[in-house]
């Protein structure tokens, strides 16, 4: 069964199990973010270190090149900015505007 934001307690799978694989994609961990990683395409060498290290698979890659950041899931941990080689520093963490934060999945 598919659990939706408005699924009531009677309809949840028994025992708190998740019965559909890959459902973490439905969970907008981007709601947690207070700092937004912003990448400077001109500086980036596509070494893909940030892609390897991102805990939320939020660095989007196509044909070996970064095509963007998935802000629905990026929780703003800043790991990508940390691992980006010091001489390049292509990713900056920029504070989110408070008003732009969306509601949680409730």
């Amino acid at each position: 069964m598919k659990v939706k934001p408005d699924t009531g307690w009677r309809d949840l799978p028994c025992g708190g199990v998740i019965v559909e694989p890959g459902s973490a994609a439905e969970y907008p961990t981007g709601d947690w973010r207070t700092y937004r990683p912003t990448r400077d395409e001109n500086k980036c060498t596509n070494c893909l270190l940030c892609w390897i290290c991102c805990p939320d698979s939020s660095i989007m890659v196509e044909d070996g090149r970064i095509i963007g950041i998935d802000y629905k899931h990026c929780k703003g941990c800043g790991i990508c900015a940390q691992v980006c080689p010091p001489k390049i520093k292509a990713i900056m963490m920029v504070e989110e505007e408070r008003s732009s934060s969306s509601k949680g999945p409730m």
């Binding site: 659990v3 934001p5 307690w9 028994c14 025992g15 199990v17 998740i18 019965v19 559909e20 949680g104």
Partner: protein, 393 residues
Amino acid sequence: MGKVVALEGNQAAALAMRQINPDVVAAYPITPQTEVVQEFSQFVADGLVDTELIAVESEHSAMSACIGASASGARVMTATSANGMALMWEVLYIAASARLPIVMALVNRALPGNINIHCDHSDSMGARDSGWLQLFSENSQEVYDNLIQAVRIAEHLDVRLPVMVCYDGFIISHAVECLEVLEDDIVRNFIGELEPVNPLLDTDRFITYGPLDLYDFYFEHKRQQMEVYPTAKQVIVGIGKEFGSLAGREYGLYEGYLLDDAELAIVTLGSSAGTAKEAVDHLRSDGLPVGMLKLRCFRPFPNTEIAQVLSRPKAIAVLDRSVSFGGFGGPLFTEIRSAMFENETSPHLLNYIYGLGGRDIDVEDIEGVYKDLQRVVDTGNVERIINYVGLRG
């Protein structure tokens, strides 16, 4: 009719486990439970069961292994006591939340300090909010019968909860008593095959157990779990009846002993119920209107049933073999008192703490409690609500 054998309580538990023939047993020895694991290991070594016995390095691991095995779709059992259960603490809650039908023999022992290996109910009472169902046993026969029924209760598709079968350390676990045991195939037919729900070993489906569950759904999961306990009561009664027609010994949520016309009643758990029956018989022959309520099922707590069955007595003493430090009386007392609030009339309700750390309670002690109750009814005066039996000084 089965055959009558003389066994210690722990041997009766191990025998029930042999007949149940669980897929997995993970346990760690601790007094007074040790013998259960020891006897059962012998059954494994002798090839009398098909069980995978996991010798773990601690009770935390024992319960964790039980959880993994149960989630994978196996029928799982374990046994422990006191500190062993305390070491299982966090995983007990996980077993219940994940709705895993694990059955545990809990040989009741004081949860120290100071170091004590003897009986009281502090271990099971501490786990009363963990989500496990708790059945208490009066003697070896009930240990055996409860363990067999516990498998059915735990695995019932409307329940799916772990069950602990509690019995008094040493008093039951190490005393030899006669009990009637069923034939192996009768037990196996009664418990049937486990019907796994969401087994991890089903490789065609992808199930996640125990995921992160925050403020968005955790509350709903707890609410859903709350809903199962009233159902569990009905299932326990139904299976108790079915077992009765099979074995000639029927079980319910409680057992009343000469309670129908009793004006003075005692409520108790475990082996002291046997002692209380003796006291009731003595006092009845003297013409005193006494009766006893033995609670078999402490979780789920049969609140409405208790309120009803205790609506007649004018004075009631609740016997607690554990304390709730800083609380108002023992855990059984507070629950009974709360259940009785629904009744229109309220009897005098007293609490008697007894038997901590294995202190004996005998027939005279319990007769003394009934005489206290008689005095309360005669004078209308309760001197102390919380009392102690068999305490020095």
